[in-house]
């Protein structure tokens, strides 16, 4: 590829990726931005005040709700997924291809399909419109994804370190706490982060199962977008995307090449 073409393409990529964010940032700091102004006629903090002030208590509440749901989901997914990921990564056995499909389907089949099916029964079980119900439905796709990431983490893990520790006299708890966890920590954090992000971004499943009682950030954002208050919508979008950015920076720093592929 000619060097000039390469620079052009590089520039286009940079522009394509950066332009949306630029828009969001500018909109969030605009008090008045009518057509056809290229920049806001009036800059200001109104949108940001709205989010964090009394009028926006609903928004802050939604942020808290999203945080709670996503964190709990991520932790549970990690705890349950760890043994499975370890087994898949360390040992060779038949049926891995089948398991691979079992894990990938819940991530790609939209939560819509599953939520509609589960909804009725969640109502009967008292899980509808409840925090636990939402967490459960989020686990449907967060758990398999976590297992997948951990599968990769443990594929690169050398269990001979554990053998070494054992022969040096360490107990099983000691091995878990002092060998396995420290060595796999970056991978575990990334798995938890992906799970968190998946849950954090979820809209429809929360809406169906949560039934309006559990209000998370994407639900608020949706309402804002349809209401037409662009600056607030932009600001909320930026809040919404913040954890994703942090996760990206973290994984870029600590995970090198095997980072964010696959999170959508």
């Amino acid at each position: 590829m000619k060097p000039l073409n390469r620079t052009i393409i590089g520039g286009l990529i940079f522009l394509a990726v950066g332009l949306p964010f630029l828009q969001l940032v500018i909109w969030s700091f605009s008090n008045r931005w009518f057509y056809p102004g290229l920049l806001p006629q009036l800059w200001g903090w109104r949108a940001w005040h709205y989010i964090f002030d009394t009028a926006g208590a609903q928004i802050v509440g939604a942020i808290g709700q999203s945080l709670a749901v996503a964190t709990v989901t991520a932790v549970i997914a990690l705890l349950i997924g760890l043994p499975a990921g370890r087994a898949l990564g360390l040992y060779a056995f038949k049926g891995k291809d089948v398991i691979s499909v079992i894990l990938i389907l819940p991530v790609i089949v939209p939560p819509l399909c599953v939520s509609m099916g589960l909804h009725h029964w969640f109502i009967r079980l008292g899980l509808a419109e409840s925090f636990s119900g939402v967490v459960l439905v989020h686990l449907t796709f967060c758990l398999p994804y976590t297992v997948f990431v951990l599968w990769g983490v443990f594929s690169n893990y050398n269990p001979e370190f554990e053998d070494q520790a054992r022969s040096l006299g360490a107990s099983t708890t000691g091995i878990v706490l002092r060998v396995m966890l420290p060595m796999t920590l970056p991978g575990l954090v990334v798995a938890a982060l992906f799970s968190f992000l998946l849950s954090w971004s979820q809209y429809l499943a929360t809406l169906i199962i949560g039934g309006g009682k559990i209000t998370t950030l994407p639900i608020i954002l949706f309402a804002l977008m349809t209401s037409g208050d662009r600056p607030v919508a932009a600001a909320v979008s930026l809040v919404f995307v913040a954890p994703a950015f942090l996760a990206l920076l973290f994984s870029a720093r600590y995970m090198g090449r095997q980072s964010m592929a696959g999170i959508w």
Binding site: Y35, A87, L90, I104, L112, V114, M116, V147, V149, L197
Partner: protein
Amino acid sequence: MITRDQATDANARTRSGPGLSVLTLLLTPALGLVTVLFGGGLLLGFLQSLGYLPAAGMEAYTLQHFENILTDPGFLKSLGLTFYISAMSTIVAGALSISAALFLIGFQGPRRLVDFIFEIPLAVPHLVIATAAVFLLAPSGMISRILQAAGLIDGASRFPLLINDPWCIGIIVTYVWKEVPFITLMVMAVLKNTGKELLEAARTLNANRRQCFRYVLLPTIFPSLGAACLIVFAYTFGAFEVPYLLGQTYPMTLPVWAYRNYSDIDLMARPEGIATGLVIAGVIIAAIVLSQALTRMARRRGVII
């Protein structure tokens, strides 16, 4: 990562496994929960779509609901529209990804920075980029304002309709923005370090640029490109937020149609929403199974290089 490569799997130390019982213990909680929630969700949905709803006193099985949707012109329109959007997004994203891969193969600059920029779209939730799409592509959006300032159009109404439009351009652009990095990453996984050298080898063997591309590059990346594209197709097929926000009110994509039915006041529409959801799930499952088969092919090609 959604795909594993054979080398990584080969690393799975074949230490004399811990025995079937321990293996089952390790795997069961996770696999069990997934099966119960996901499989159960689909199964229960299937039962409801067949009319089985004991709580509402419906205990007989019927295919009425499926019949209803398959004969509903709204369903067929939505099905066609969804196919169109997914197919277009996949094709455009796939083509752009090939260019991106070519770009990355020969790129000599700060690799980490470029990788980082490429990975950003992967982390951004669809809803956020859809929002930004509105800000950019709406008749009163940024692109329109730039064109206005440049004197190319005269007022917002002259700007072509890109959001809530029959060609679903805004939706497709949003999907493409999100999915190009994903496909590119999966293609690069195969090309990685030796992609450039393989092409160089081909060039000294009398292949000109065009022949290199057609006879060497494309066959090499084909399986992983195909697998990634199928995943993108499947995902966009079932997506809700983006078409809900950026699409027309009619016709709507299949997931939106399904949800509309499900949340309809008329409770009788519910099973039809669920049935639609199952159709969606069916299409996606077929695509994923196909994708996995291609991935297996890709693994072999990725490893030997």
